[in-house]
Chain length 605, copies 2
């Protein structure tokens, strides 16, 4: 590996982790993460943030109009032919590209025959437009077949974001894509590159989403099984010999091994990586090419190098990759399941081709595809989570203390014979009337008035055993004081099968500071608080809750609206693993009548 | 076969076709139908109808309340495991039983996850309750997941009716059942029997309704294929060796050979037979037991005997069967596809068991199952259609002439690359706002204002060739003068594959008099009118349009509302084969706000 002293000239200097002498095969996580420099200049950082916003204000904002037809199409993303919910005939849908401050207008025409839809713009905070968050049951009525609903919102920060269906488990069926927001002209990012590419990771089932949902809500419970394949930019690898005849065709062009990008020797590439898996936690790697992580969920991070990236559903990362390997061959890119046994799920595969005289860009790499890390090594995944810090020039100052602390325990419970996930004993079920309409209009009988508990019984609850008691199914809301600071400690515990797993939690309408990750049970009265990073925490909108552990986040409830906070595993939120926050709903502007028409919002306008 | 002089004592005498000496194997259609006696006493008939209504008025009407949860469940109706849309967990749903004049109240709770629904009460005219007809897009907005919609209507006539989903092609997924309306106490029907049973016939696919609909709307067009099985009372026979392993289990109890009924020697049974096939025309027979047809679509008919019954989707018939065969064995009941090649669709099978000392009621019949008639013999099917006359004591007097005549030609057209069915050149697509709401509220931009053509170019159009021109997709309405008499002549023509097939047409909100069936092209200026029966036509709500032929019906547009008239083949109406009638919409009472909320009816109440 050649020396690589990328970006030093374009930064304030010193903040980058340089791995000029580290060979890819010798990257040691502890050594890498141990060299990171702390942020020591908060005032400078604040000034940088201010300049950034001034620059945004003077830039000329554009309005981008899209018209999307949502329909079912027969697709073969992994060679097995199956229906997918598509955007203008494609799954994944088109990448939305805009500049910070621009307005996005998407007219969504539902051309499904009997099924509704709603689209969530994942990572966009929807400031002043809480009705455009796209969560059916929370911020809007679903869009009916034959109808057109127009989402309009401002992309107020640069970064990598996602979009996907947010209605039942519909995301499993394929309606998803990426949003890339670039900085305005004249603004310099804290890194540089020659070209950028998007990498959307997913998992894929051959059973329909209807079968999955029916199994989950049946008694006896039927889990969704492990995915049949992992997708990279909508393509996967399924062994057709395992499928019934006539259903799978390995020679279809739409499941050919995809080219991730074509590398010109010496150039540097920014990969905007997002995961919209329905179940799987992933490890993404490019053979022989370490990655420098520079952005997470729309925030610049203190760059750190990884041989491969752990990424959870709902997260995005931007990484820099330098084309510095032998250009006379091509290289594997791969995604692997971690955190669950991957034996039934072949890795997702793609190719990084070198554009070099004498290299055949269509030739598969000569090496065996990389195998990925041990799937059940939780420690290295926690290590990555703990290695992410805000970029020193982009630290968003965090309030020193919280006004309110929520201790949210997930347990799996059997309620009326059905297996549910509960948070502090409550399994969330959306009411027929969207919360936003019900709360703004004061319809008190449209959702559960009794608030859910802020705390669980952390003194006596044993997290390494299944929940001893039953929970309830309901639609309550945490009402947060507008502008207040809220700490949330997510506490994992074992499911009914006595196993513990990863839950990536996603907060709508906000970013949160990631205070920290810990093992075992968080003790609010004891020294667990001392483990938290209050100096340069990264802001994110999605964060993993690791097995047998806890994750603490802080956010300011400063965005009037009603917002979902939930596990991003489709089966889990379907089983009730989420909570709803309301803040300042009276300050929300006049609701568009287009979000109404269902439940008790019939007849409203 | 023993003598059988059924009912002579309970009728006015002479009107029944008696087949006391005909052996089942010797029934000759021409001979049987040739012996029917004409109705010669219209005044007496009118008096009987009047008495009937007076009796109804004095009877004490009941209100029947039902609560139905609509959900997906994994079912194995033909041993192949597949999702079905169920009513309270069952497919078919429960049989609604009521007495003439009763009120039915069904609270439909949609527990599908992302899919809407609407339920049509097939054959119920919905007088004064046009909003309860249950056609999404015509009479109501669909019922959203999580919502409850309450249907309330009066069953004003005795007879055999049906219910089923009427939203997209959702009926294919299993939401269907029967409605049995009996005469009030003290009223004597024109036949008698010892016991009654329901027989619901269907067809069944292993592909999901989503795959079917996607194929139909794709380019290239993919037809739904022939059904994998025929169902009798929700059970069918699929050869599991043809299915991928793990998907089909021939030993499941829910696909065991069903018992149609248990016969006590010498007793007479009324079978209320309904067909809710999605595609198939059927022939239903009981080995060795001829059937006496006594009711069709809720109207008493001049009884006639058949060895087997041709029945089309949307039709109901009541037949009498006498248990007069050797009671030491059991007998096959079977349904067979006719009108389309049945080679890919095994017959539906059930057993009539004899309760007799020495007979094992669980033993399959010792004979080979009956094979049914030649599937492509159109003539014998037309013959049955022509053999149905009103019962002489129940002839509903028909107006002597029509105020308006519609000549409706079906053609298959390629529109924007997609194959559609059109009626006089228009392929019907429901607007996002239900017609009933749009028209009652005068929302002129919510549907197509230009009326569709009353006539096609019958002088030059060649029905035995595919349509020469393109049609259009639209949502126009035939506006009928309230109280006017309308003749409709349905004219069949060849599809793009140059084949002609059967289309059972169903009219909502009315019964029509069946004026006649003819071969070839109906010529309105010539002697085709002379072929029509204006003396004792049967009234029905569903009538077959036979291959290469025409069917003429007359109805009085006396039911204020907006009503669908369409081919009852799910794939065909999905492809546009229907028209909409409006009559006296201004006279419709205040619309319930529960039917609103979609399209431009958002915000209305």
């Amino acid at each position: 590996m050649k020396d690589w002293d990328l970006h030093q000239s374009s930064t304030a200097g010193g903040f980058f982790l340089l791995y000029s002498t580290a060979s890819a095969s010798a990257i040691n996580y502890a050594a890498v993460f141990g060299t990171m420099l702390p942020s020591a200049r908060p005032l400078l950082a604040a000034a940088a943030v201010l300049c950034f916003w001034l620059l945004v204000a003077v830039a000329e904002a554009k309005v981008h109009h899209y018209t999307w037809d949502i329909s079912y199409q027969l697709k073969s993303p992994d060679c097995f032919e199956k229906l997918a919910v598509t955007v203008n005939g494609e799954a994944p849908g088109p990448t939305i590209r805009a500049t910070q401050g621009d307005t996005i207008v998407v007219a969504v025409h539902n051309k499904l025959e009997t099924e509704n839809t709603a689209i969530h713009w994942h990572g966009i905070r929807q400031i002043d437009t809480p009705w455009a968050d796209g969560v059916a049951g929370v911020t809007q009525c679903p869009i009916l077949p034959g109808e057109t609903f127009t989402y309009q919102f401002v992309v107020d920060r640069p970064g990598t974001y996602l979009y996907h269906a947010h209605y039942g488990m519909q995301r499993v069926a394929g309606l998803n894509g990426m949003i890339v927001v670039t900085v305005p002209d004249g603004f310099v990012e804290p890194f540089s590159y020659d070209e950028e590419h998007t990498v959307l990771l997913g998992d894929w089932w051959h059973k329909s989403v209807y079968e999955q949902a029916t199994g989950l809500s049946s008694n006896p419970f039927v889990f969704v099984t492990e995915p049949q394949s992992l997708l990279i930019n909508g393509r996967g690898m399924f062994n057709c010999s395992l499928a019934p005849s006539g259903t799978c065709n390995a020679s279809r062009p739409d499941c050919a091994l995809p080219t991730l990008f074509t590398a010109v020797p010496g150039k540097t590439y920014l990969l905007r990586i997002g995961s919209l898996t329905s179940l799987s936690s992933l490890y993404f790697e490019i053979e022989g090419h370490p990655m420098m992580v520079v952005e997470a969920d729309g925030h610049y991070v203190l760059p750190f190098a990884v041989r491969g990236l752990f990424i959870y559903s709902g997260e995005t990362y931007s990484v820099l990759v330098k084309a510095d390997q032998d250009p006379r061959r091509n290289y594997w890119a791969a995604s692997h399941v971690v955190g669950r046994n991957p034996s039934q799920t072949p890795s997702g595969m793609a190719v990084v081709s070198y554009a070099f005289n004498g290299n055949n860009p269509w030739m598969p790499p000569p090496t065996a595809p990389p195998a990925g890390p041990a799937w059940n090594n939780t420690a290295i995944r926690v290590e990555q989570s703990r290695a992410i810090f805000a970029h020193p020039r982009y630290v968003v100052p965090m309030p020193a203390r919280a006004d309110r602390t929520l201790l949210l325990l997930n347990t799996q419970n059997r309620i009326d014979g059905h297996i549910k996930w509960t948070i502090n004993g409550v399994s969330l079920m959306f009411p027929a009337t969207p919360y936003l309409v019900a709360m703004k209009r004061g319809m008190k009988d449209a959702y559960e008035q009794r608030p859910p508990p802020d705390m669980y019984d952390h003194m006596s609850h044993e997290i390494s055993a299944p929940a001893p008691t039953n929970g309830t199914v309901g639609s309550p809301v945490y009402r947060l004081a507008l502008g207040s600071v809220v700490d949330v400690v997510l506490q994992n515990s074992n499911a009914l099968n006595n196993k513990t797993e990863t839950h990536p939690w996603h907060l709508h309408g906000h970013d949160f500071w990631v205070l920290g990750h810990g093992e075992g049970k968080f003790n609010p009265a004891a020294d667990a608080w001392r483990l938290l990073n209050v100096r340069d925490p990264i802001m994110k909108n999605t964060v993993p809750l690791h097995p047998d552990g806890w994750t603490a986040v802080r956010f300011r409830a400063d965005n009037p609206g009603v917002w979902l906070f939930h596990c991003h595993v489709e089966a889990h939120v379907f089983m009730g693993m989420g909570v709803v926050f309301e803040e300042g709903v009276k300050r929300v502007g006049r609701l568009p009548s287009s979000i109404m028409g269902c439940g008790r919002s019939k007849g409203l306008h």
